[in-house]
Symmetry: C2
Subunit: 426 residues, 2 copies
C-alpha cells in the first residue's frame, strides 16, 4: 500500500468542521492536506471573552500543526485559497510566499463565515464584527480606548458618546458581548478612573426581530432579556439599525451617539460557493446534498457554516460548533468507508445536544429540549461545557484560572491596549 | 490641607522606575499624574518569552490604572510627551485625541530606552529589537513564519536561510532569546513539520566584545557560552555586524543568509534629555546629580534607563529593573521628605542583589557577589525570583502554569501568528 499513490484529501479551514474531518480520517489510507489562512485553530464560542479583556488570545487558540502533529497523514499548509477547478480537481493556494495548485481526490470545504452587513459593507469600519483573534484584539482596543477617551473628554456629549456601546444583533454572540461589556464597565473598570464613573456606561443591545436569542424558546428569550436588563443593559427588540458611522448609529429614526458599535447581526459564508460556481442560499452557503456533497462537483463536500442543509429529520442544520464537528466527522467517515468499498452511508442527521448562552455572573440560559434552565445552574453548566470542549489541557487550565481569578476579583486578566502606537485612532 | 492646592508630581513612564516612584509617594500630600504612552506596565525581564511563544502578552503585563487604582492620589493619563518647559514647569502631552500642557511642581522622567543601532537605524526593519508587547508579538510572528517559509521552500538555500536565526548582542536579552529559540526549534516545533526538520535550525549569537554576558564574571560568561553551545547555539564573540538587510547579515567579512535577525545589541535612552536640553551621555541618558536631579532644572529628576549616574559608592548604576525600582523609591522618598521639611537625604547608593540570566532547561547563571552559581540551581533561582517579582497574583499564577506546562510537555503555549492578514510579509 505504501508504494501506491494514496488518495489526497484537501481540507480547507481548520475550524471545528475541518479539524473534526481531519481527525475522522486519521486511520484512513489517505494523504490529508489541511489548508488554513492562519496557523491557529480558534475556539470561537469564547472569542467574545478575548474581545472583552477576560482571556488572552492564546487561551482559546492552539497551533494547527501542534493539534495534528501526532497524525502523520496530515500536512498543514498555510495559505489562502484563490480558486478551485473541480474539473481537473485542483485547488489554487497563495500565501504571499508561494502560489500554486494542489490536486485532490476529495475536497472538504470548511471555510466558515464572516459577519454580514446586508448590503451595507461600508458600515464595517464603524461596526466591526468578531470572527478572528485580530477582530477580538481590535474590539478590545476600541472598547478600552472609549473609556480612556471618556476620561479625557472636555464636554458631556463627548463623554457620553464614549461611554455608549451599541451591540447590533441579539443572537448568542450579541447577548454574551452585551453581558460581558456591562460587567467590564460596572466591575472591572469601576474604580480605575478619576474623572468618569465607568459604571454609568450605557450598553444597548439592538435586535431587529421580536426577541433576542431567537434559537431558544420564547420563555428563555424573555429570561435572558430580564437578566440583561438587571445587569443594566438596554435591550431593544423590533429595532432596526438604519445607519452606522463614526458618530454612532441610527436605530429606527433615533440617532444614538456612540463611540463603540459592535456587529453581531448576521453571517455571510466564505466565497466557497463562488470558487465552485455552485448554487448557494442568500447568505452564500453552498446548497449541499444529504451527505454534504456539492452537486455537480464530484468528490467535493461543504460543511459547517459554508453549507446549507436540511437534514434527514427535516431540520435545518444550524451554524454552530457542534453541527460543524458532526458534519466533519460524517464526511471523514464517509470518505473512509468509500475507500474501503462501503459506498453507502445513512444521510446526515444533526443531533442537537442543547443550546447554551451566558449573560453574566450566575446568569445563563440552557435549552436541552427535554429540560430548560436559567440562572445559576445554567451558568455553571455553560462554564463546565465550555471548559470541557476546549482545545487541549493547557487551554482548559488557562481558561479555568482566568475565570476563577475574574470571578474572585471582579477584574479582567487581559486588559491590554495593543497595536496602539503613537497616534491611536479608534 | 485638603483645601490648599497640593503640589503636583508628574511621572512620565509606567515602567519599573515610574511605578516605584508613584508607590513611594502613596502617602505624600501630592497629586500625582502618571503619564504613559500605553495602558499597561510590562514586566520587561520576561518579554523575550512572549517573543518566543512561551507566554501571552497579558501574562507579563497589567493595566496601569488597575495597578494603581487603590492609590487615590494618582491620576493616570494616556499620552505621549511632546515637550517640557522647565522654566514655566509644564509638560506637553498629546495622545491623538487631546493635546495640552500640565503644570508640575516635581517632574520624574522614567521614560526608559529603546534599542540602538549605532548610526544604522536603517537596519531596524530587518533586525527588530524587543522593548514593547508589539515588538514581542511581531518577533513571534517573524520567527514562526520563518519555519513556515522553510517548509514551503523550493530550494535548499531558501530553506536554510529561513532556518537561520541571528541574534545580535550577547547581553542577557540576547542570551535568553538564543536559548529560548533553540529550544523552540529543537523541542516545541520538532514534530510539527513534514518537509523540514526544525531541529536543524541554526541559531547564531553574535557579540562584538570578547565575551557574552559582560556584566557577569568571566567564569560565568564561559559557563553560559558552554551551556548555549551544548543546546546547539553557535556563539561568536569578537564578531562585528557590518550590515543587516532582507537577505541576512554580514558578520565581519562573512555574509550569513538569515530570514530572522533580532537586535539585542544596544540601548538608546528616550528623548528626555532632548526635551530638557540637558546634558546627556553618548547613549542619550541624562547626566543627573547624586539624587537623580537634573542640573539646572529645578524639581526635575531622571531615573532608570533615562539617567546616567555614578553612585555614592563610585558604581555606575546599571540599566536593570532593580536599579530603576530603587531609583524610583529614592526620588519618591526624597520628594516626600522635602514636602515634610526634611530637605536632606543621603546620596543614592545602588544595592546590587545579584545578576541572573537564564539559558535553557536547567541552565542559568547567577552572580550574587558572595556566591556564583550555574546550572540547575541557578535556573531554579531565576524562575523563583522572576515569579516573585511579577506584577500581581494573576500574573504569577499564569506564568507559573505556562512554565509548568512547557516544562512538562516541551510545547509552547502561545504559538500564534497574529496580525498576519492575507499577504503575510516578514
Amino acid at each position: 500500500m505504501s508504494d501506491q499513490k494514496r488518495p489526497v484529501v484537501i481540507i480547507v479551514g481548520a475550524g471545528f468542521g475541518g479539524l473534526s474531518a481531519a481527525r475522522a480520517l486519521a486511520s484512513a489510507e489517505v494523504d490529508i492536506v489541511l489548508v488554513d489562512q492562519r496557523n491557529h485553530h480558534i475556539f470561537q464560542p469564547l472569542l467574545y471573552q478575548v474581545a472583552t479583556a477576560s482571556l488572552s488570545p492564546a487561551d482559546i487558540a492552539g497551533p494547527v500543526r501542534s493539534i495534528l502533529s501526532s497524525q502523520p497523514n496530515v500536512t498543514v499548509v498555510l495559505g489562502t485559497v484563490t480558486g478551485i477547478d473541480s474539473a481537473t480537481r485542483s485547488v489554487s493556494i497563495d500565501n504571499g510566499v508561494r502560489s500554486g495548485a494542489i490536486a485532490y481526490d476529495y475536497l472538504i470545504l470548511a471555510t466558515g463565515a464572516r459577519h454580514a452587513y446586508f448590503g451595507n459593507d461600508h458600515w464595517e469600519p464603524y461596526a466591526p464584527g468578531l470572527k478572528t483573534i485580530e477582530d477580538a484584539t481590535s474590539i478590545r482596543r476600541r472598547l478600552l480606548w472609549a473609556f480612556e477617551r471618556a476620561e479625557m473628554a472636555t464636554d458631556i456629549a463627548e463623554r457620553d458618546a464614549n461611554l455608549t456601546i451599541v451591540i447590533v444583533g441579539g443572537g448568542p454572540t450579541g447577548v454574551e458581548l452585551a453581558g460581558s461589556i456591562i460587567e467590564l464597565a460596572r466591575a472591572a473598570l469601576a474604580k480605575d478612573f478619576r474623572r468618569i464613573d465607568p459604571r454609568k456606561a450605557r450598553v444597548l443591545l439592538v435586535e431587529a426581530g421580536p426577541r433576542i436569542l431567537p434559537s431558544f424558546t420564547p420563555e428563555l428569550s424573555e429570561a435572558a432579556k430580564q437578566s440583561l436588563e438587571k445587569l443594566g443593559v438596554s435591550v431593544r427588540v423590533d429595532a432596526r439599525v438604519m445607519n452606522c458611522d463614526a458618530e454612532g448609529v441610527v436605530i429606527g429614526e433615533e440617532r444614538v451617539p456612540a463611540a463603540t458599535i459592535l456587529w453581531a447581526a448576521g453571517v455571510q459564508a466564505s466565497p466557497a460557493a463562488g470558487w465552485l460556481g455552485a448554487a448557494a442560499d442568500r447568505a452564500g452557503r453552498v446548497l449541499v446534498g444529504p451527505d454534504f456533497s456539492v452537486p455537480g462537483h464530484e468528490g467535493v463536500f461543504a460543511i459547517g457554516d459554508t453549507a446549507s442543509l436540511t437534514d434527514a429529520a427535516g431540520q435545518l442544520v444550524p451554524g454552530v460548533a457542534p453541527a460543524a464537528k458532526q458534519a466533519g466527522r460524517y464526511v471523514g467517515d464517509l470518505i473512509t468507508r468509500r475507500l474501503s468499498g462501503f459506498p453507502q452511508q445513512a444521510p446526515f442527521r444533526y443531533r442537537n445536544y442543547g443550546n447554551l448562552a451566558t449573560i453574566g455572573r450566575y446568569a445563563a440560559v440552557a435549552d436541552f429540549g427535554w429540560i430548560r434552565l436559567r440562572g445559576a445552574l445554567a451558568w455553571w453548566l455553560w462554564g463546565i461545557a465550555h471548559i470541557f470542549f476546549l482545545i487541549d489541557f493547557r487551554n482548559r487550565v488557562a481558561v479555568t484560572l482566568g475565570w476563577l481569578w475574574s470571578f474572585l476579583t471582579f477584574k479582567r486578566g487581559a486588559r491590554l491596549i495593543t497595536g496602539m502606537l503613537r497616534t491611536p485612532g479608534k
